[in-house]
Symmetry: D2
């Protein structure tokens, strides 16, 4: 039964499908081995498979973005925890790719070790009182000669409790000027940086989330990303990258859910016939297939555009639409699976436990969909107010 | 702010709204006091408020069903755990009312103490291999003189790990005959009854769920509900009662969620204005109000019909439609609240944690909605196959 | 087959269901007879059945609003054109009931003949440039001694091309003051009133819609409804009445569509079995039943509240929610019917032609649902901007 | 304003986007000129632009399927009637491409003139009593020496009233054997072929639809497509082709609708600000953009797979999913546009008239979506019954 489910909907470029298959096979035994290990152990195990390594643009085979997307799909298909998949996609697409593009070659080389997994990045943007409005930011970096001194606090940061370095956005200017913000990349083990609260999460619980507090932290020289005042531009790049392809982390889990449900429905008896004989069940399975199919097609299309050299910021509208579409389809697929699983969906150690919080969180992470909708409408020329 | 949210949508009969208000006030301090207590303690505390007591049909004031519905809404509104609300509604509507209707007066009087909370009932129908098909039932009761001897196992039984008595359905005949099943009500502390597995649940975690295994259990004389072979008729009654009004347990939690979100959106700043100034937020809040309003209207309409003496079985189609409508609207309301809560929805100890599993379980508990749809279509005359 | 579909979902008050049945039977032959007649002939035929007559509040039997609702459902069920049903509901609920409440007894008696059908009212509110914002109104009434002189133009007025009298809203003050508007009721055959453009409609095409232009029209003394400056209050009353129960016009057409589809699916062969044997078909039919059931329950609940004397304006939130719910369910029911009808849905003279425009128009008529959502959120205390 | 709407969401291959632009420009004046002409005149005008011409597989530039898709999008964007777009897509994708693949080279060359527009094809599959079940087919072809004699009737055939040749499926064997059907291609002006009823349609009204009756029609030698008994295989090919890309006809109309709504909302005043300032409006416009974006991405992805030589039948699941996704998004886009258009949506000669029937018909044409869902679930291995 599992064969067809896995062989269908493989409409990506052939070279990409091969990477998916390779990584599914490679990751299988590793996933088993680290299943109950802590976050950093799982992270390192995946990194050792090469999942964090960005291909050079001139490699033969699929382009670098497509390749990263396919590797992450492959390990998800092998059963890697969705939280790990999310954290990998977040660092690769939301940090590594935009940093490689934004940093001078030697600056990139200095942190390129992140690709080995030994150093873990986090992305610190949101503040308690501010939600999604960058200009509500109160964290402030004040220049003192060569260096910047940082004061403030960031929250809801994926991986903050375990990360080694952080990309941090802070005010270096006033008001709502497009040049009021700057971006920094620096190690977290410097004086004045406190890892504050670590959250108990109901979505993607395996990946830690926490807060960072900065109390007069003197950032090492060279911490600035780009120029002073270019924070909003850096943010536009990291968020466009993220929205374009981060939902790739969901493809593996989605395919696994679909396969599991097909096997269940094909094998279970119900009212004297196979459960899968019912048109209701067929409709729900077909809706799940639809969710998966169009998510794959859109994500690999975005990857192809990025591989072709289209600047991420030019794809802001399309990236946001892809993020909305895939996250909603991820929720829908999970809801159909839940409906087909009956009471077992709500029994933690049953054959068919459902996790609804992680897919729902995809609607909010990497930009709440409602906020993205406002941005998209603006790009179409509507005078939308904040 | 909370005033309007609580004062709107009170379109039930005046006498019913007064019961809601009374029980909200009565339950408030009790809820606080027992918040962290175990299930039976919470159950007893609610029972002590009178929530399990069925009014006599000739009382002045709202009819008995309306009154029970309003009491349960009131304690939910006071903050009682949704799991407790569910368990109360399940016993009151799915067991007490149909038993009062089905049992001879002295048989009912013999168990009427359940209304005091000291004795807890459970309803054992589903079996591991069978899902929702009653004729897949393998539990069997074999008559030996005056008594029945029971063998088999039931699963997914709300309250099984803590209940004192059970309503159990078992085969007393063969095949798919409408008279092949019988219903029994008996104490669980007799020889041959084993409380097997207790489940770890992700939905309504506060209310225990488990299995019962019967190994040659000799049921006391008088355990049979109605006549031998009337099991399907008893089941039709308990399930129609359940579907008609059990979702009443969700009204309190829904109203609390709506109120909390309104307060949050009205108070929070976002992009330089109140979050609640946005038409997107207004639309979501309005959708939540819609979900709540039409759920209340439908549930109180069903209660009024039952109070008017309409037999539950005659309302099977309308009961199923009400159950589908309210359960789907409960999910929808929760999803809108989650979208408006941002990342906080997924932080367990935040101001706005979301519980998506409990509402989703309402789609399955008391009859999976897909199965109900098949039954409804049949009542409209369609020759729907199983 | 048609029996069950018609006998289910009759959960309104018994007296109301009897009125529905009576009017279905009464209207049957009349509907046949006037099927191809012009609008006024159909209108008069329905009026002759008593559909426009408001019951006295102290009549035995169902209250006046419930009775009107049931009569209109009955004639719709008998096959009256949805456009006629809409026009009747619009005059009865959006004009007659609020006028009876607002006018002094002798003023009401003066126009009470509208209940015989010989005089037709229309309700002129919207202007070309303004959409749904009453304060964008440019039509102006200037007092000259005892009378008012009216200048301006109104558009999108149901029945304007054939009506005898109009309720017209106009500025008598400046700006966005709550007392800037006044309401008038006067005959359309006075000098200075021009019936301008008559529209070709795709929704409810049988009921005419047009424009009225006022060029120095001197309104007869006594045309003012209420006091000068009370226009907004009158409008709040007419719109609350309308939203609460006008969608009652859709109940008859919805029930007819459901019945037709059930008969089709039960009778047609498909892939070697009855079409209605499929769970997909069952699900769609069940969704249609859900749409109808909860629309009926909500509308009759609103009617009961109005009959109990609750002022319409106090029900503004609930009325708007009812209007949104029923209009969306009307669309949904029609879409399911269309999907089940196959190509025949799009063949004008087939057995199963679909009309999608009329149900979709219900989302907009009597207040666009998006606008209603904004108003509802405001009533819950959100500071929603315009 | 129109610039952004047209410049966004152009994420197809660059060469394809250029074809879209070229054909939009080419078609503009032609569309204007033939706007009110009859169907064949419009058809010929589009054919003269080269829209029916299939590129050779080894052309430089985009592949042949991609090129056809882009040409049809371009003329739709120029304002060609959706009915014409549909008819072109239907002949190109559902007939020309599969015929070029299925026919021997000389047989193809014999009918290759269809690419000039002078000869019009139609595709005759459905029968009155049968709906979508091919084995319910009663039309029968009986071999007499070299030729076949055809008896039976087909209905709901796009272009039947004006076509010159037809692809017709008929029984040449018994029962539900996979070899019971055969496919024929022959001219309609032979004895024994009657063009029967021509339908008045509410969807895509500009393209004629009708019936064909065969009364002992002796088909010319060489009419058989492929071998006797290969009808089901031919049908699998034509339907897979159709489902994969036929919805391309909707891209132009979807883009035009989006552009028109953006212009309207950006320009119109509403409650003292631009209508497009509202987050509700932004959300709807963003949903429209989502519908368009993922439809384009999926359709061009299918075209790329077909251009890469993937046999259409291998893409049956993906083709069906694409068809479902695009048709549902076409409906959704149209519904959002309708909601934003207010009453004007239902005034035939307003600035914003809505046509809801044509998009809804896309759910049924080229395979009803419910039926496609059953087929998809089967391909995933579910034992779905008919």
């Amino acid at each position: 039964m599992s064969a067809p489910a896995d062989l269908l909907l493989r409409t990506g470029p052939k070279a990409a499908e091969e990477v998916v298959d390779t990584y599914r096979e490679l990751a299988g035994p590793v996933v088993e081995k680290v299943r109950d290990a802590d976050f950093r152990t799982q992270w390192q195990a995946m990194a050792d498979l090469g999942v964090l390594r960005l291909a050079a643009a001139d490699d033969t085979g699929p382009g670098p973005v497509t390749r990263s997307l396919a590797m992450i799909e492959g390990i998800g298909l092998a059963g890697a925890d969705p939280g790990i998949c999310y954290a990998l996609a977040s660092q690769v697409f939301g940090m590594q790719f935009p940093l490689r593009a934004a940093l001078a070659e030697d600056a990139w080389r200095a942190i390129a070790e992140v690709q080995d997994g030994g150093t873990l990045l986090c992305h610190a943007l949101t503040e308690r009182s501010g939600g999604s409005d960058p200009f509500s930011m109160r964290t402030r970096a004040r220049r003192e000669g060569d260096v910047f001194v940082l004061d403030g606090a960031k929250t809801f940061i994926t991986a903050a409790p375990v990360a080694d370095r952080a990309i941090v956005f802070a005010r270096t200017g006033e008001g709502r000027s497009p040049f009021a913000l700057s971006a920094f990349l620096f190690p977290l083990d410097i004086p004045g940086v406190v890892r504050a609260e670590s959250f108990t999460k109901t979505a993607l619980p395996s990946v830690p989330m926490g807060e960072l507090v900065f109390e007069g932290a003197r950032l090492p020289a060279g911490s600035l990303i780009g120029d002073e005042g270019s924070g909003l531009a850096v943010m536009a790049s990291t968020t466009a990258w993220e929205r374009a392809v981060i939902l790739g982390y969901a493809l593996g889990p989605m395919r696994r859910t679909l396969r599991r449900i097909v096997e269940w429905a094909a094998g279970r008896d119900h009212f004297g016939r196979r459960m899968g004989a019912s048109h209701q069940v067929a409709s729900r399975v077909s809706e799940m297939a639809l969710a998966l199919h169009r998510s794959r097609v859109q994500l690999y299309a975005m990857a192809a555009l990025l591989d072709a050299g289209t600047p991420a910021r030019q794809l802001a509208a399309e990236a946001a639409l892809t993020k909305i579409s895939v996250s909603e389809d991820y929720v829908r697929l999970t809801e159909h699976a839940t409906a087909l699983s009956g009471v077992r969906a709500f029994i933690a150690d049953s054959e068919l436990p459902a996790d609804l919080h992680s897919p729902m969180a995809a609607l909010t992470y990497a930009g709440p969909n409602d906020l993205l909708r406002v941005g998209i409408a603006r790009q179409f020329g509507l005078p939308v107010e904040n």
